[in-house]
């Protein structure tokens, strides 16, 4: 074969060339594959990305219309993780919604717990104790760091930086150990209670936090060295998925995405709640509103969160808890027996050795962390077992038809979740169960704006953009 002939043969393979079908040159190769009418021109291709695609984190579907590799139009479909959160809340008493709120944003469940509690407290018109405010701040900020670590780690992994993911998950592990220490669980913590928190902080918590933060800071430094100036990482992130400040606001996007566009809105600063007006911190801002700025904002926010936790631990009223029941304490069974025999005189003042499961829930600790309101807060276990008043109070709160009964009305309370403003709108009809609970999910607006963010970009750009949105299925679909 001469070189000319071979060139001709190769040209025959190109899409525009005529193919021989049944001996007649009637259809192009393109038509053979794409059907009649495909012609020599181009046509847009519709591609389904997700919901089973790992980069969609399992639960959303993007129907993208592609021109080559450019996304012309897309439609985002959600709802695959809908679990009727709002409907379920209406069925049980007010405190029963707590485990459901854990499962909204399952990376930072503590913030959801406290946000819901604060909304109900606002509806009830009660104030929580100073120490409880600080505990909520401390645990929320630890959760925020966990959330940002997961978001940055996972999106870096999707861009090929697997080491970053491993490092960040390692750092998160240290923080989750703190969470476990306080709440007894790692993920589904159910630590918030209307009127307070489940239990006081354990002994020696400050030291553990200090140790964990050393590790987290080291990881953040390593990650900065690994990817912040990394050519591959920056090529995928800088200028990708950008939204202008005006558009971000119009889409009601809050949190790190809004601040990356240069708008200094943070609920913690704008309308301070709990103890946020008593700690010093800054709001890190970006400029371009692209994925890279979102990454930088999140990295800077983690440092600010650690600052807040350290200050709050220093200012924690009441100091750290020293459980010193040893020696003086009596066995709970003996305590109950004494109560049964009617020997209740002075019994309320006898310290009791609580089971380790109830650590931090003793009478002294309860007083520090829970609002002094019998209509809302369960009595300490000593009172429940040791006096008829305590027992009655306990039953009045847990029996069906009794329990917490906010007066008829409505209230909206917003906290700064890891992804932006997390609002709870609660309506009461005066009974012991919520009439309506609405969660304003912070990651719904950015997912709604996804189509706009990826429009005109390459297919591969979906991955970092979707990562920077930090879509959390639990709160998106509720």
């Amino acid at each position: 074969m001469t070189s000319d002939a071979s060139r001709q043969a190769r040209a025959g393979d190109s899409p525009g060339a005529r193919a021989m079908v049944n001996g007649e040159a009637s259809r192009t190769t393109r038509e053979l594959f794409l059907g009649e009418g495909a012609g020599g021109g181009t046509q847009n291709l519709t591609v389904n990305i997700g919901p089973a695609h790992p980069a969609m984190h399992g639960i959303i579907r993007i129907l993208a219309e592609l021109d080559g590799e450019i996304i012309v139009k897309s439609d985002v479909e959600i709802g695959y993780l809908h679990r009727a959160f709002e409907k379920d809340c209406e069925v049980g008493p007010w405190n029963n919604a707590m485990p459901y709120t854990d499962r909204l944003n399952y990376v930072s469940p503590l913030i959801n717990n406290f946000g819901y509690c604060s909304a109900v407290e606002k509806l009830l018109g009660i104030d929580i104790t100073e120490r409880c405010k600080y505990i909520r701040v401390i645990m929320s900020e630890i959760s925020r760091i966990c959330d940002h670590l997961t978001c940055v780690g996972a999106s870096a992994m999707e861009l090929g930086a697997f080491t970053v993911f491993l490092y960040m998950i390692k750092a998160r592990e240290f923080l989750w150990e703190l969470v476990e220490d306080v709440t007894g669980a790692r993920l589904t913590i159910s630590y918030g209670r209307v009127g307070g928190v489940k239990a006081d902080l354990p002994a020696g918590f400050d030291d553990k936090v200090k140790k964990a933060f050393v590790e987290v800071r080291q990881v953040l430094e390593e990650v900065h060295v690994l990817i912040t100036g990394n050519r591959i990482f920056m090529d995928r992130m800088v200028g990708v998925g950008a939204l202008s400040a005006e558009e971000t606001v119009a889409w009601a996007i809050t949190g790190p995405l809004l601040r990356a566009a240069g708008v200094p809105f943070d609920v913690r600063k704008a309308q301070p709640y709990w103890a946020y007006d008593r700690v010093q911190f800054e709001i890190p801002l970006g400029k371009n509103g692209d994925n890279f700025d979102r990454y930088l904002v999140r990295m800077a926010e983690m440092e600010q969160s650690m600052r807040i936790v350290e200050q709050a631990l220093g200012a924690l009223p009441g100091g750290s808890i020293q459980v010193d029941w040893e020696g003086k304490a009596i066995d709970p069974a003996a305590y109950v027996d004494r109560g049964k025999q009617g020997k209740t005189e002075g019994l309320l003042f006898v310290p009791i050795a609580l089971s380790p499961n109830l650590q931090g829930q003793g009478r002294d600790a309860q007083k520090r962390v829970n609002a002094p309101d019998k209509r809302v807060v369960l009595p300490p276990k000593e009172n429940t077992y040791g006096s008829i008043e305590g027992l009655m109070n306990h039953f009045m709160l847990v029996m069906e038809g009794f329990g917490i009964r906010p007066p008829m009305g409505e209230a909206y309370f917003a906290v700064e979740g890891a992804n932006g403003e997390l609002g709870f709108y609660v309506v009461s009809d005066g009974s012991d169960r919520p009439y309506r609970v609405r969660c304003r999910p912070p990651c719904l607006p950015p997912v709604a704006a996804m189509s706009r963010m990826i429009e005109g970009q390459m297919v591969a750009d979906i991955i970092p953009t979707f990562g920077s949105v930090n879509m959390i299925g639990g709160e998106l679909d509720r």
């Binding site: 409907k87 119009a250 009601a252 409505e410 709108y425």
Partner: protein
């Protein structure tokens, strides 16, 4: 701006279309008639001393079983607005009758209203007149009924997917 002053501004603008106000637990709320809601939203967004530029939330409440409201309009569509420049909030509520559950859409004011209204349609069956794409958001197309309505029983089961047989 003080919440009472915002309500006063809305009152002068809307006149009789403002049906009532309250500030339960410090949340200033204006109850607006359906005919006045788009004007109220536009006014709140554009007026220089109000500048409510964020539609924080849009939802609804079904008052079918609320004691004392058996005869009133069944639904309320609830708008939570926030102003970044002025750092204030307001809640607007539109009462909607059961027989005519339609509210004009706010999609021309805020693009996010698109999804939020789709969710309200999905969950409560309230239509938004002029909405460009009023599909269900969380449930699937074949789903029957609107689950957050008070007369939708929580234990009711429907096939998860697929056409009816």
């Amino acid at each position: 701006m003080d919440g009472q002053a915002i309500l006063a501004r809305l009152e002068t603008r809307l006149g009789a279309r403002l049906l009532g106000t309250h500030d339960h637990r410090g949340d200033h709320t204006a109850i607006v008639a359906r005919e006045g809601i788009i004007e109220a939203l536009t006014f709140s967004r554009d007026e220089s001393d109000l500048r409510f530029n964020v539609l924080m939330d849009l939802t609804a409440v079904d008052y079918l079983k609320l004691p004392g409201r058996e005869d009133g309009p069944r639904f309320d569509v609830v708008y939570h607005l926030y102003s970044i420049p002025h750092n204030h909030r307001i809640r607007l509520k539109v009462p909607v009758e059961q027989d005519d559950p339609v509210v004009p859409t706010a999609t021309s004011l805020w693009p996010i209203a698109n999804w939020l209204e789709r969710e309200v349609w999905d969950m409560f069956g309230i239509r938004f007149a002029g909405h460009p794409d009023l599909r269900r958001l969380l449930m699937y197309e074949e789903f029957e009924g609107h689950p957050l309505r008070k007369d939708y029983p929580i234990e009711r089961r429907q096939p998860l997917i697929g056409p009816k047989v």
